[in-house]
Amino acid sequence: MKIESLSIKSSTIAIFSMIGITAIVLSLFAGTYFKQAALDAQMTSLSRVIEVASQEMLKKVRNRTFDLGMKLSHSRELISAVNSFKGTNNTGDKEQLVKLLDDPFVNGFVGVYEIDLNKIRVYNMDMELVAQSSAGRKNLEDKLAGYISTVVSNRKAPDRLKAIDALWMSAQGPLFSTLVPLGGLRPVGYLEIVVNPVFNLPDIGKITKTPVHFYSMSGKQLDSNDQEVTSGYLPVAFTLLASDGEPAFKIIGYENISELSSEMDQTQTVTITGFLLLSLSTLLFALWLFNRFLFTPVSRMIGDMERITRGKLELTVNNKGLREFHIFADAFNSMTEQVRMRTNDLQRLLDLDDSALMCFDHDNEAVYFNEGATSLFGYSSDEIIDLDIADLFTDDISSLLSGADSDEMPRGSLHTVLNCKHKDGHVFQSNASINTVDVMGQSGFAIALTIKTNDEDVPSSQNDQRLNAVEQTLSSLLTFAQENPGVIPGLGNLGLADIGDSETVSQKSLLREHVVKVMNLALACWEHELGKTKLELAEESNIWPVYMDKSTPTTRTLDKYLNIDICPKNPRSQRAVDTAEFVLRNASNSKKVKCKELQEALDAFRQLLSGIKSLSS
């Protein structure tokens, strides 16, 4: 793809579209990551909730075991029984002691339904097991849990009265123990209350208010809080550690994320929609700004420039716009002004001469004439350009040139007297210097005329110099006119001059046919619809000149455009278009066949003209 085929507008829209698409993709990615982050946060949050709930559950167990321990530790019977095992004279009644320890299992205690009491054991001050209840869990090791034993041995004197709690791993699974001094502030030993924490695990679910399943570390399900787990739940695992850091329970809580997902989806939809709307409105606003300050000024400048290059040098490019466009427009306007000045200078140079200077192309049609020529023949500038050589001279100049020998053209110029036809019809004689010139690569000729008088003759050398000047000046003007068609009003239609010969001939022929057709249809429509004459068309439209031929008004130029045989070889197509538009405008309400045909012919003619223009450019 060539860069020239891309406009600023399409490039800008493409860039904005890319930015918009990128923004959409990024927002979708961000939404997905945001959702995942929210789920992660939810999982972390539930994990912490389970942790707190676990600690609350253990606190409740601890309080119950402490209460029971305190109750028993102040039992005088128990203190007395343990005291009897003190010292070397071991006179204690173990059976009685065991019976006392079995009492809570048999008779119950405050909070019996809140913990699962597994064992009550008594130790001496050296932490040696004295006795344990026969009721409760069997096959427990006959020693204190390792963690509690370590803590006790490391404690200082005042701290030995403080109770110790521990979740510890027995051979039969996790157990919870509370060790309290037996005998109050003056202990005789220690009392260990052992409970099964599995009994209290469902309390975690009561706190979290979510379905919770409890597993041993071997993976066996221990319990659950009987809440139903459906597909909208997200499992969150938490490991409850024993006091020594060893994993004790695996707790899986289930978070209901259906509501969260639905809210997230809603939030995502709202956010993305809002983002897209915002992006779109921003893009549209940016495009509006671009259109207002870039596209429209550029388009207006291009239009102005095209009109100027088509010949309307009096126009200027609108310089209202951004700084760069302002500078650019000013530069173009300055350049146009220079072109206009130079063109005027060239024309003024030729117009300053008193002689009539004119130039004809190989079709014998006038391509240039100065003011002297228009005043000599009595025509206006607009009228004279429609004339050909036969309208201005009675002599056949082509024959004169071809018949002249080299002696008669000493410096390439033929000096003779020509019979000229004035606009009003009278014929007069004039001294002429005729020179062949190159008109856009084809043979034309230039004529310099001076009025033939009896007392004064213009030297032929002077006419030759003029003709040479005319030739050079014309060459410049024609070159400029070829590059800038329509710039110089005094120059005829040269638009098809540089196209290939055969193509030029066929297009000229087609153009003439269309011109004649449009003009005939316009005249027919004018006459039938408005009931007016051809003369009235010329007069009212101000498009066609009206000549006075022996006191009779004639439309000589218009007549030529109505007949294919006498139609100029380079007809002024804009005149035909203007005439058709004038007629249609005046017969605007008519739906007659002729007018419809005229409209169709005009449309076809415009298409043809646009095709020729694009071919020329």
Binding site: D67, S73, P158, D159, K162, I164, V180, R186
Partner: protein, 149 residues
């Protein structure tokens, strides 16, 4: 209508009750702290209390809380006398010797009962006063032996 239903005396009681209720609600979150210290009174921690009890079996420990609170749990050997009911005669019966050490405690740093009792005892001429400012809250938090009834 209000004056028809209640006598003037009853009206005063009702208004006073309502005022008390509102002030209680308003002050619930602004319960004052016990003073940081009381002049000429020794402040001790839970561990120091144990040391003192073990070292001096005759140490008088006064629990200045309500009876219900005392029954739920108290320090071994403590005597329950609510601060508002503490009289010079009661204290004199417990400790005729005003130079003997007496330890006071209540619910903790936000309880003003023990400090009130100490101020009274100080006013009555008791010289060796000990204040367990952390009170029952500190005792239970340290999971020290408690006696329940």
């Amino acid at each position: 209508m209000f004056s028809f239903l209640f006598s003037q005396h009853h009206q005063r009681i009702i208004i006073a009750s309502i005022s008390l209720l509102f002030s209680s609600v308003l002050c619930a979150d602004q319960k004052p702290y016990a003073p940081e210290n009381i002049q000429d009174v020794t402040i001790v921690s839970a561990e120091e209390v144990i040391d003192m009890i073990l070292a001096n079996p005759d140490l008088i420990v006064v629990d200045s809380r309500k009876k219900t609170e005392y029954q739920k749990g108290h320090i071994e050997g403590a005597i329950n006398i609510l601060n508002t009911r503490l009289t010079s005669e009661d204290l004199g019966r417990i400790s005729p010797d005003k130079s003997k050490a007496i330890l006071f405690y209540c619910n903790g740093t936000r309880c003003l009962r023990s400090s009130d009792s100490i101020k009274k005892a100080k006013k009555w001429g008791y010289q060796n006063l000990i204040w367990f400012r952390g009170g029952w809250k500190e005792w239970t938090e340290k999971r020290l032996p408690a006696v329940t009834e």
